[in-house]
């Protein structure tokens, strides 16, 4: 061999050695590194060094919207910034051949290479490439992953040997990239799976993931503590194919078949089977394994995971069940459901109930614009209403909506009532794409309710129906409207009641809205015989309130029936009775006092008459005193009898023409006997009244006796006048007077203007006066000023003039 030949071989050998070393380094990196970025960087660096290039780069294919472009993946010998202005080289004539896998491109001087036309001066800032070498990187299926590009600032750097070396390295790069991509994809998938698992694990805590490895033949060599912890197998039991014994007998064969197939084909292994847990329970697991492919394409290891999906499956089954239930619900729901979409409100969906409700076959609805499918609803405004929901996006709720439908398809319209909602359905972007209709026919209930209401309308007791919870009034009968004096507003919210209704408890305290019996009943309370008073246009009315609940029926919420029995009459009577009893008790007390008072001196005087040595004068005085007490008692008894007579309507009355002044003078004289108070009588002597003379005497005696009693010992006047139709007698004292609020009460039986303690007497006198004057057809009144005295005015009918 010649020296030059030897030298050539020596150089060749050195290159081969370099090449082999580089390939070895690359291979090692491929096996030791699983990170794609690192692998490609090592590959680019080694390849660049091997071919003595100044710059080396790996670009890979990306497809963007403008077509193919190439993205710089790794760079060797130049800062990355050198490419910052050219991040995506186009498939130019120079690069295109490599990316289309048209063979290696090598150029001594790219500026002068006729293959690439007028390459011309390179763009400013571009790496100063003169020598150029480019090889395609193609994967096992023949698609171009990218290209390795090398450059040098001087011409003629790359040799044919470099070309071959790079062509040898390129497939390694492809495999490495593919592998790394697969690993990354697996890791990503695994990570995604792990993420899902973690998410899932937060739902069901019992899930556990088992990691295992096997040799290429699918036999376990290394321990999997997690597997053994799950199955309770010993290491020996687990080894080899022993792990398969933990699989349920019925599942084992299929699982093993799948495993054998995967191992043979080196494809991904996926299997689900029941795995016996250490506690003896079989749990559904999912096993997933991948072959680990070596750089030489062989596989000597499998890694895999086994995951407990028992709970997840249960969960999935539940979801599937729910989904099935939902669709079943939709189809079998007792409610009518339909979806209409688009400006024409085209039926997209209508469940059997809906079809029945509108009296159509599904084929008469689906795909047909609503206005054409149910034209009878056009004039009833239904479609416009639904269109408004579609356009404005506001749901619409209707209760007892009245609609007429041509359900028989013969043109006759059939009236029905429907509760329905129309809700907008939005797509992912929030646009309204359809309207969901949910309708329930309540015609039967409405008719039943109307029938009940018709009956309630006739009931004489005021009745109001209110809705449970809301306390809204849904109905009031005629008696209720009459009680309040106006039709009760329907469907008012309870918060408005404060302004509409005023009610009071029996003590007169106004009830708050929450205390109103109807509102209480709406809250679920049962109201029994609650008494309250109401302000109505006819004045205050007393009512007794009761409530009863009518349970809800489909389409109808529970209703409370509230009755308001008007007991005003009873309450008035009751009050009058109570007053009568009180007055009677008071009368008995006063009567006892008044009767006992004269009895006291009578008894004392009679008792002392028994003393032996009494002078005749003394005896006479004692007898006078006793006699006076007997008179007092007789008067008292007489008054009582008078009351009893008047009350029983047995007052005797014999009217005649009576000269009033003359009678007044006689009475004044008689009353004046026991007192020093001056009594003056004057007036129209000719005034003559058509009255009972004895009764007139009684009236004047009563009035004058009172005047003496309450007149504070001051002069008393009696004045008689006459008009065309009446004779008027005025009895005036200058005593204590009568407070205004008592002026009417003094004419009542047993009432006195002053307290019982302060003045004696039955208080029957004025009552008797009024009864007598009323019987004549006249009247009696009092004018008074406190502290200045009182004037009693008796008006009597004029004497009858003889024809």
């Amino acid at each position: 061999m010649t020296d030059p030949e030897i030298e050539r071989l020596r150089v060749e050998l050195a290159r081969e050695r370099l090449f082999n070393a580089a390939v070895h380094r690359i291979a090692r990196s491929l096996t030791s590194e699983r990170d794609l970025d690192t692998i490609v960087q090592v590959l680019t660096d080694e390849a660049t060094a091997l071919c003595r290039a100044q710059f080396g780069a790996f670009f890979y294919n990306v497809i963007d919207e403008r077509g193919e472009a190439f993205m710089l993946y790794t760079l060797s010998g130049a800062p990355r910034a050198a490419f910052s202005r050219f991040p995506l080289p186009r498939a130019t004539p120079l690069f295109g051949a490599t990316f289309r896998n048209e063979g290696t491109v090598r150029s001594e001087d790219i500026r002068k290479d006729p293959r690439f036309g007028a390459w011309g001066p390179q763009p400013e800032g571009h790496l100063p490439v003169v020598s150029y070498l480019a090889v395609s990187v193609v994967d096992s299926r023949g698609s171009v992953l990218g290209g390795l590009f090398f450059g040098h600032g001087t011409a003629g750097v790359f040799t044919e040997h470099d070309e071959r070396a790079m062509e040898a390295i390129a497939p390694h790069a492809a495999i490495a990239i593919e592998n790394a991509r697969a690993m990354r994809a697996m890791r990503e998938a695994e990570a995604e799976r792990a993420r899902s698992e973690r998410r899932f694990r937060s739902l069901v805590s019992s899930t556990s993931q088992i990691v295992w490895t096997t040799n290429a033949a699918g036999e376990t060599i290394e321990d999997s503590p997690a597997w053994r912890a799950f199955t309770g197998q010993t290491l020996d039991e687990f080894r080899g194919r022993g792990w398969a014994h933990a699989i349920h007998d019925d599942d084992r064969e299929a699982a093993m078949d799948a495993w054998r197939r995967a191992v043979t084909a080196r494809s991904t292994y996926e299997s689900e089977y029941r795995l016996r847990h250490a506690n003896g329970e079989y749990r559904l697991v999912a096993s997933h394994g991948v072959p680990v492919i070596n750089d030489d394409g062989t596989c000597d290891e499998w890694v895999g995971t086994t995951t407990d999906i028992n709970d997840r499956r249960v969960f999935e089954q539940r979801i599937a069940h729910e989904r099935a239930r939902l669709s079943k619900l939709f189809l079998q729901a007792p409610a009518a459901i339909a979806v209409v979409a688009g400006p024409d409100l085209v039926y997209q969906l209508a469940n059997p109930f809906y079809c029945r409700l509108v009296g159509k076959q599904p084929s008469q609805l689906l795909g047909i614009p609503g206005r054409r499918a149910l034209p009878e609803l056009v004039t009833q405004g239904v479609w416009d209403l639904l269109d408004r929901v579609r356009v404005e996006g506001e749901p619409y709720f209707a209760r007892e909506f009245r609609a007429k439908l041509d359900r028989l398809g013969d043109g006759t319209l059939d009236e029905g009532y429907f509760d329905f909602t129309a809700e907008p359905i939005r797509d992912a972007t929030g646009q309204i794409e359809a309207v969901l209709l949910f309708a329930m026919e309540v015609t039967g209930q409405v008719h039943a309710r109307k029938a009940i209401e018709a009956i309630l309308q006739e009931v004489p007791t005021p009745i109001v129906l209110v809705e449970l919870d809301t306390a809204r009034i849904t109905f009031s009968n005629a008696a209720a409207d009459a009680l309040w004096g106006h039709p009760l507003p329907r469907a008012q919210s309870a918060s408005d009641y404060a302004e509409l209704y005023r009610a009071f408890d029996p003590n007169g305290a106004e009830l708050t809205v929450d205390e109103l019996p109807a509102v209480r009943a709406a809250r679920g309370e049962t109201i029994r015989g609650v008494r309250m008073d109401l302000d109505t246009p006819q004045g205050r009315r007393s009512v007794v309130v009761d409530s009863a609940t009518v349970p809800a029926v489909p389409g109808h919420p529970a209703t409370i029936v509230v009755s308001f029995q008007d007991v005003s009459q009873l309450v008035t009577t009751e009050r009058a009775l109570r007053d009568a009893v009180r007055i009677r008790d008071e009368f008995l007390s006063i009567a006892s006092h008044e009767l006992n008072t004269p009895l006291t001196p009578l008894k004392l005087q009679l008792g002392s008459l028994r003393s032996p040595d009494l002078s005749p004068e003394k005896i006479a005085r004692k007898l006078d005193m006793a006699d006076r007490q007997v008179d007092r008692l007789a008067t008292l008894v007489g008054d009582l009898l008078e009351v009893s007579r008047i009350t029983a309507g047995r007052m005797k009355m014999e009217p005649e023409n009576v000269p009033v002044l003359e009678v007044a003078l006689e009475v004044a004289e008689r009353v004046g006997v026991g007192t020093t108070v001056p009594i003056a009588v004057d007036g129209d002597r000719a005034a003559s009244a058509h009255v009972d003379r004895l009764r007139l005497e009684q009236v004047l005696t009563n009035l004058l006796t009172n005047a003496v009693k309450y007149g504070a010992d001051k002069p008393i006047d009696v004045h008689v006048t006459r008009t065309d139709t009446a004779v008027i007698a005025r009895v005036r004292d200058r005593g204590i007077g009568i407070a205004e609020e008592q002026r009417e009460a003094i004419f009542d039986r047993f009432e006195r203007a002053v307290s019982v303690r302060n003045f004696g007497g039955f208080g029957l006198g004025l009552w008797i006066v009024r009864q007598i004057v009323d019987a004549w057809g006249g009247s009696v009144a009092v004018e008074s000023k406190l502290g200045e005295g009182s004037t009693f005015v008796v008006t009597m009918p004029c004497a009858e003039v003889r024809a």
Partner: protein, 121 residues
């Protein structure tokens, strides 16, 4: 000689009680209502026993008794109440005795004497 003040609005009752007590050897003063009675006491009258009616104008028996008890100089004088009220006297002010009208003179005299003795012990 026992000294008694009668406070009674009914002139016939007042006069008769005074008369029979006088005949029984007592010294008797009389007032037509609580106000006059109180004025007499505050003017220096010191009876050994007061005979008090309840229902009276101007100042009734209860009010009189309250004023009397509030006055340190007068509160020790014992009171015998005479009342014509048919209902049991709802009388919450302490008194020595309550006699219902009508009554025989011996009962009143007995009550007066007992009240006098009780207060002097």
């Amino acid at each position: 000689m026992t000294h008694v003040l009668i406070i009674e609005d009914d002139p016939d009752v007042r006069e008769s009680v005074a008369e029979v007590l006088g005949e029984a050897g007592m010294a008797v003063d009389a007032a037509p209502n609580g106000r006059v009675g109180l004025d007499m006491l505050r003017a220096g009258l010191r009876p050994e026993v007061i005979v008090l009616d309840l229902m009276m104008p101007v100042m009734d028996g209860r009010e009189f008794r309250e004023h009397q008890l509030a006055d340190a100089k007068l509160k020790s004088i014992p009171v015998v109440v005479v009342t014509a009220d048919g209902r049991p006297p709802a009388f919450d002010v302490p008194v020595a005795a309550v006699i219902k009208k009508p009554f025989i003179v011996e009962r009143l005299i007995g009550a007066i004497e007992r009240a006098r003795q009780a207060s002097s012990e």
